[in-house]
């Protein structure tokens, strides 16, 4: 079986990818990420369905202001429309949010990272939530929490949560070198145990449980902000069930990389069947592909080769270096190739970095090189962006974009119409891990197979759970297969374009919006 090596065949057409058209359309969402020094990072939204209608709803962290939940009332294929609801998640000092079904009841709960005590919110149904730290034995320190990831370890009946902490607030007048401990929470039977410190910690701004070598055992990647650590670097932790986490070391091949790590986007871009990692930073961003084989975590940076350094503004006339935050892969033009969306924005008023710093929309061409189209697609916002999302709000198969901005309102861009064929799938399995976190979705096109991990984490301070979108180009159908958590491979399933499918170990079921 070949993975995506065919994308480099010279015989393939090298025409520029089709550029999608986006319409600025907030659908009534008016939230902004407010606050000053303590909210210079964060601002990641949570995208998930809170009322059971299968449409993605939107939680926006408010920073110093209360967060807000917006229920998606958009008609299928129509203009976006949201209604703000009072839900119990209107906490202030929220730096970001991730959905996760913590208690396995089929309703997505919310993890609210905060300046202060992180709050787990249990879903009650109908977009109502209750604070559940006490219920679940979650003992959270009053940290400045800025990163999150979750997984279900093999055999576990309760999720494992990792939290990344930023600067020690008590040292705010002299914060350099004051990074507080990242924490790992394991649990069982409905409660979390006392957290394990992930020491040393280096001011994490993104974390991701990822099976980097296809071993079936995820590790925890941590992207750290070099502005504040001393002696730090990018990190990856071994996570063996029941064992203390331990760092991947130089002796094991882990190479020191020191960047202003702000976000992680993961996808199989190289076509080797394993995840590659796009790491956001200031100036050059990184696209890491495994070069040492699956035995050792040695990576090459191919951002330049693939055209995704995204190191300075491409429009607007500001030639200073960029500042990148949220990043996410998705096939926005439905041509069967993953594209890349990056949310940009100055820290605040750093004069050596671009003040007019447009978001990037980089479309992957047939030769594997990405082409910037943010301005032509209509999403080159100059606001001070932080969090973001790629999501199909109105279930028309055309991915839409979200950017959460400092001090300015959230921006949402609805894609006018899908440019190619598509399917969307949602994974479900019995047991605690209802949404199959850690599964691998394989998408087969001819003899090419793209492998996608189902993860909770990464991005910049925000994440999503729900439909997984697959672009098909001109294809009328596609074969998909799920490698379920634990390693059991499901059957190959033939899915017809234009449909929404619920995938379970028993097979596929079509869902109609």
């Amino acid at each position: 079986m070949k993975f995506w090596a065919l994308i480099f065949l010279p015989s393939m057409a090298l025409a520029e990818p089709a550029v999608p058209v986006f319409l600025a359309e907030t659908g009534g969402v008016t939230a902004a990420y407010e606050g000053d020094y303590y909210f210079m990072v964060g601002g990641g939204p949570a995208v998930f369905d809170c009322n059971g209608d299968r449409k993605p709803d939107l939680y926006v962290p408010g920073g110093a202001a209360p967060g807000s939940l917006w229920v998606n009332e958009s008609p299928v294929g129509g203009a976006l429309a949201f209604a703000r609801v009072t839900s119990g998640v209107e906490l202030d000092n929220v730096t970001g949010a991730y959905p996760l079904d913590i208690d396995g009841d089929g309703a997505l709960d919310l993890v609210l990272m905060r300046l202060g005590q992180t709050q787990l919110m249990r879903a009650l149904g109908g977009c109502k939530f209750e604070a559940a730290n006490d219920l679940w034995g979650f003992d959270a320190p009053a940290d400045w929490t800025t990163a999150f990831a979750a997984t279900f370890e093999l055999g576990a009946d309760w999720p494992t949560l990792a939290f990344g902490a930023y600067i020690d607030q008590a040292a705010s007048a002299f914060p350099w070198g004051s990074c507080t401990d990242n924490l790992l929470y394991r649990g069982t039977a409905g409660r979390f145990a006392a957290p394990l410190p992930l020491t040393p910690s280096h001011c994490a701004l993104s974390m991701l449980f990822t099976d980097w070598n296809g071993s079936g055992l995820p590790s925890l990647r941590v992207s750290n902000d070099r502005e504040y650590y001393k002696g730090g670097q990018e990190q990856m932790w071994h996570l063996e069930p029941g064992a203390m986490p331990r760092l991947w070391t130089k002796e094991e091949g882990w190479a020191r990389l020191r960047i202003w790590g702000m976000g992680i986007a993961s996808a199989d871009i190289s076509g080797d069947g394993l995840p590659d990692y796009f790491l956001t930073s200031m100036a050059d961003n990184k696209l890491q592909v495994l070069k040492g084989g699956a035995e050792v975590p040695v990576y090459s940076d191919i951002a330049g080769k693939r055209g995704v350094t995204a190191h300075r503004p491409y429009v607007g006339g500001d030639a200073r270096p960029s500042t990148a935050w949220h990043a996410q892969f998705g096939d926005v033009n439905n041509d069967g190739r993953l594209d890349l969306y990056v949310v940009k924005g100055n820290v605040a008023e750093m004069p050596d970095f671009a003040a007019m710093d447009p978001n990037n929309l980089l479309l992957q061409g047939a030769d594997g090189v990405f082409v910037e189209v943010g301005d032509r697609a209509g999403v080159a916002s100059m606001n001070i962006g932080r969090g973001g999302a790629i999501v199909d709000f109105n279930l028309d198969g055309a991915l839409d974009l979200v950017a959460v901005n400092r001090w300015e309102g959230v921006e949402i861009w609805r894609q006018e119409a899908a440019l190619g064929h598509w399917v969307q799938v949602a994974l479900h399995q019995p047991g605690a891990n209802r949404d199959a976190i850690g599964a691998v979705l394989e998408v087969r096109r001819g003899d090419q197979v793209e492998r996608r991990e189902v993860t909770v984490g990464g991005g910049h301070a925000g994440g999503q759970l729900g439909w997984l979108h697959i672009g098909l180009g001109d294809a009328e159908a596609v074969d998909v297969r799920v490698i379920w958590p634990g390693g059991v491979a499901g059957d190959w399933l033939a899915l017809t374009a234009g449909g929404f499918y619920d995938l379970t170990p028993a097979g596929a079921a079509l869902w109609a919006p």
């Binding site: 007048a173 002299f174 070198g177 050059d284 190191h311």
Partner: protein, 437 residues
């Protein structure tokens, strides 16, 4: 250094509570002011994006000059640097009939110096500067009349402003795009430097015009030219090839201590106080260890600052005269295509070694202040996990800094040896400054 800084802050806060006005310790206050601000500047230089080593050295020189002048203005035995440093005119003079407080003058001057030279730092640096200003003011103003405080602050600000105005005309005040030109024409000869980094911004060399910046004590950027390097050749029997092989062979047989030395002196911009800041850190550590006065510490800091700033100007001038290819390029082309350096190769021409030039200059400057065979321990990088190293003299430290660049795969041996000599020549100008009458 973080630990030291926190100790300073704690000391300031405790002292502000405990010290009765009548027990004002003028000498101690001036030390607190000097050390407090220098602890901060060693962080600001790390966390302000434009501060590549040449730019950092320039800032250390100006901050040193401000420190000196702020003290010299109230000390009849001290000699101003006006007339000694290129283009520095007479500074404001204190009214001999009025009372000034030396600690307040120094605090005001250094606070203004931070804003002048690190005003482009990010929100955290701004916050730290504001916190330092508030804490220092609370400490040094205590027990003084409002008139003395106001007069002293105004005078300190006037000194800083005078030096700041002088700095604006040196050709190094504006650094765009982190110092990387937007356009650059490369040489086409095999000996010519080529980019060595995959980072987009670094496809042009750093600060190609820095050799045109006005020197401080050295008359001209060309006053201390570096000796020519061996003739460029790719022939295996050439001297040049042998030097490249020396770098290659060193990398293949690197001992743990040699790797430690390479990392200890690497001093990467934005991940350390930079190479000139490393030498400033050494002075601050010595001053704390030996309980030096603010005056004596400033003497070392200003001479050092001028030496390393001139060192980078002279070095950068030569770098763009010789425009020499880096070992990583040469070795991959001629010896081993798969070779990788231990350290990241800096994005500018090779010859001579900047670390070596500035370390040679620092060696001469600090030996002039502290003497030969002056032993010290250097814990600059303890917070970053690198153990302290001990040296029996500034010469030993400078020579280790120079050879560290070969261990790191960054420089040919001749670039280190000749760079040290160029630096020693440059440093002599700084060492010759008269600070006392």
């Amino acid at each position: 250094m973080m630990v030291l800084f926190r100790r300073t802050l704690l000391g300031l806060m405790m002292a502000a509570i405990a010290l009765p006005a009548q027990a004002r310790d003028a000498a101690g206050l001036q030390r607190d002011v000097l050390f407090g601000w220098y602890d901060l500047v060693l962080e600001l230089v790390r966390h302000t994006p434009t501060y590549s080593p040449p730019v950092a050295a320039r800032a250390f020189a100006y901050v040193g000059v401000i420190s000196h002048e702020a003290q010299a203005a109230l000390d009849p035995a001290a000699q101003t640097l006006a007339g000694q440093l290129n283009g520095l005119t007479a500074l404001p003079v204190a009214d001999p009939g009025l009372e000034y407080d030396g600690a307040v003058v120094l605090d005001a001057a250094l606070g203004a110096a931070m804003q002048e030279f690190f005003g482009n730092t990010g929100p955290t640096g701004q916050r730290a500067m504001a916190a330092m200003r508030d804490m220092m003011a609370a400490r040094v103003d205590e027990g003084l009349t409002p008139e003395v405080i106001a007069r002293s602050r105004a005078f300190g600000l006037a000194i800083a402003a005078h030096v700041g105005d002088w700095a604006q005309s040196d050709g190094g005040a504006v650094v765009q795009n982190m110092g990387f030109p937007y356009d650059y024409t490369f040489g086409e000869d095999p000996k010519d430097w080529r980019p060595t980094s995959a980072i987009s911004m670094q496809q042009a060399p750093l600060l190609p015009d820095w050799g045109k910046v006005r020197p401080f004590a050295m008359p001209l950027a060309t006053s201390c030219p570096v000796a020519p390097h061996p003739a460029f050749s790719e022939a295996p029997d050439s001297e040049f090839y042998a030097n490249a092989m020396a770098v290659y062979n060193a990398s293949k047989a690197l001992t743990p201590e040699q790797e430690e030395i390479a990392r200890f002196w690497s001093d990467d911009p934005m991940l350390s106080p930079t190479p000139p800041g490393h030498w400033v850190s050494i002075v601050v550590q010595i001053a704390r260890r030996d309980g030096l006065s603010a005056r004596k510490t400033t003497e070392a800091l200003v001479v050092l600052g001028v030496a390393v700033a001139d060192g980078f100007i002279g070095c950068w001038h030569e770098k763009y005269v010789y425009n020499l290819v880096r070992p990583v390029t040469y070795i991959k082309r001629n010896i081993d295509p798969a070779w990788e350096t231990l350290l990241i190769t800096p994005p500018f021409p090779e010859y001579p070694s900047g670390h070596s030039v500035q370390s040679g200059a620092a060696e001469v400057a600090l030996t002039a202040v502290f003497g030969d065979d002056f032993a010290f321990e250097d814990a600059t990088h303890e917070d970053d996990g690198l153990a302290a190293r001990s040296f029996s003299s500034f010469t030993e430290a400078a020579e280790e800094a120079a050879i560290s660049r070969m261990y790191g795969g960054i420089h040919y041996p001749f670039a280190n040896a000749n760079g040290l000599e160029q630096g020693r020549c440059i440093g002599a100008y700084a060492a010759g400054l008269r600070l006392m009458k």
